[in-house]
Amino acid sequence: WHALLISFEVTAMWNGARASRLILPHGLVHTPVFMPVGTQGTIKGLTSEQIKACGCRLILSNTYHLGNRPGGEVVDEMGGIHKFMRWDGNLLTDSGGFQMVSLLKLARITEEGVLFQSPVNGSEMLLTPERSMEIQNQIGSDIMMALDDVCPSTSEDMKRFEEATYRTLRWIDRCIKAHKKPHIQNLYGIVQGGLDPKLREISLKEMIQRNLPGYAIGGLAGGEDKALFWRVVKQCCDHLPKNKPRYLMGVGYTLDLVVCSALGCDQFDCVFPARTARFGTAMTKQGLVKLKKREYRGDKTLLDPSTQVGRSYTRGYLHELATREATGSMLLTMHNIEFLQNFMKELRESIRNGSFPDFVRDFMKTEHPDGNYPKWAVNALKAAGIDL
């Protein structure tokens, strides 16, 4: 059995939007794809069988957290992450860069790397590009992310953005050098530059020169102004090579998935679907259903026709379970993940059969029946060639 390292084939387009076949060492993934996050080597409460049954073929795990517990050496000793968590699909590891933002108070960033203080036990970890590559090599993910210097997108420190942009480039070269398994693991570079088109242009030009198997658009999805967000996404998609996958990090709301697919992104990840499930919220085409609310008590209607869980359980029953029972978390997590997989499947199909603009219009109408579409989305879609 010969494992293909990576193959990316765009099979259909609608303007900038692409429907593609991404083949990785653990199989075929259709894009645009949403990748659920299993931070610590598990997607909260679900077995690998359930994850697969939801339609996932590519999930995420986190290098910093796995590096802490159980440790890269342990995962390596256990035969790699696929064997350890018994997931035979594809897996992408985030480099630990995002923790620079999420754990900022516990992180000190220097040219050498990021010194983290664990939020769990206070232990220190110096995450350098080399160490990040080492841990990811030990984990054995199919896609590895370079360690980048990430500045929170809402920062106003232009000097910091500039520093982060250039340091990310110096670090990508260190990552490439330190990556010991380029024949079985794919290293994606991450484009930085904050919200500044000039910095983004520099980052894009330099990253593309490194000729990597795939590229991510980082440093967004951090609460920045949406009007600036979509313009950066567009700029990156317009300049990144067409024959390689583009991964937009941290994006997972359906509106963002639709708009950014239209702009040309292929891969997405976000903790939102699984996290909101644990707060008792289900995703549906009509919007979020907050099952904790009293109005759902005794509600005999089934949750939602588009997923297995949604067709099997009533809102009233899930109301009782929501946030009280672990089973509630699991069922809603399964529902949200399957919902998004099905949603992306429909999106891909519409690109393939030329009805993508209709898909987008229908989606917008269903989510905003009053016609009050968010301005940034209208503008972004217009730029992508879709008139609402």
């Binding site: 517990r69 350890f84 672990a326």
Partner: protein, 195 residues
């Protein structure tokens, strides 16, 4: 019908007799056991009750359901057990591993293992070798240990899957032993091997 009476043998007898005569009742529960009474007292109570209850109707015992007390109560005529034993193990990160079908004279072995134990950090073996539950067919001790360490929900999910499955297998063996008229021998061997 629910038979109350605490440790009062006479009271238990009176209650059981009265309820036993009600034809509309489909089964009975002996409530209030395992609340500190001795095993001998418990046996006396159960005997007192079963002596007057119609034997063709099911008898339920509500208890912690530890394997040894289950076997004890089965020998006295209890048919159904409402028990939290699997869940109690799961909650503290333990997996049931007592010998399901020990032979007479088998040496005692631990009835449960603690997956929090750091010695399992790189243990590639299944939780219980030979167990056919989803957890034992899929995951290793090392992974379960990691899940517990990181407070992941999948730890409880996997442990519960195993513990409930394993406990059900225990009852399968009990039923076989009763059917094949060798329950006393099964119980004796089981007690010898249970630590």
């Amino acid at each position: 019908g629910v038979i109350e009476g605490g440790n009062d043998l006479k009271g238990r007898g009176v209650c059981a007799k009265a309820l036993g005569e009600i034809k509309e009742l489909d089964g009975f529960v002996i409530a209030g056991l395992h609340l500190g009474e001795s095993s001998e007292d418990r046996e006396r109570i159960i005997r007192e009750v079963t002596a007057v209850l119609p034997s063709e109707k099911p008898l339920i015992s509500t208890s912690k359901g530890t394997p040894l007390s289950v076997l004890h109560e089965v020998s006295l005529g209890v048919d159904v057990f409402e028990s939290q034993y699997p869940e109690l193990l799961t909650r503290i990160g333990h997996a049931a591993c007592f010998a399901l079908n020990p032979k007479a004279g088998d040496a005692p072995r631990p009835s449960k293992l603690n997956l929090w134990d750091p010695k399992y950090k790189v243990d590639k073996s299944p939780v219980v070798a030979g167990c056919c539950c989803y957890t034992c067919k899929t995951y290793t001790k090392a992974y379960l240990h990691h899940l517990l360490n990181t407070h992941e929900m999948l730890a409880q999910v996997s442990l519960q899957l195993h513990n409930v499955f394993y406990y059900q297998r225990f009852f399968v063996h009990i039923r076989s032993a009763v059917k094949e008229d060798r329950f006393a021998a099964y119980r004796s061997a089981f007690e010898g091997a249970f630590e």
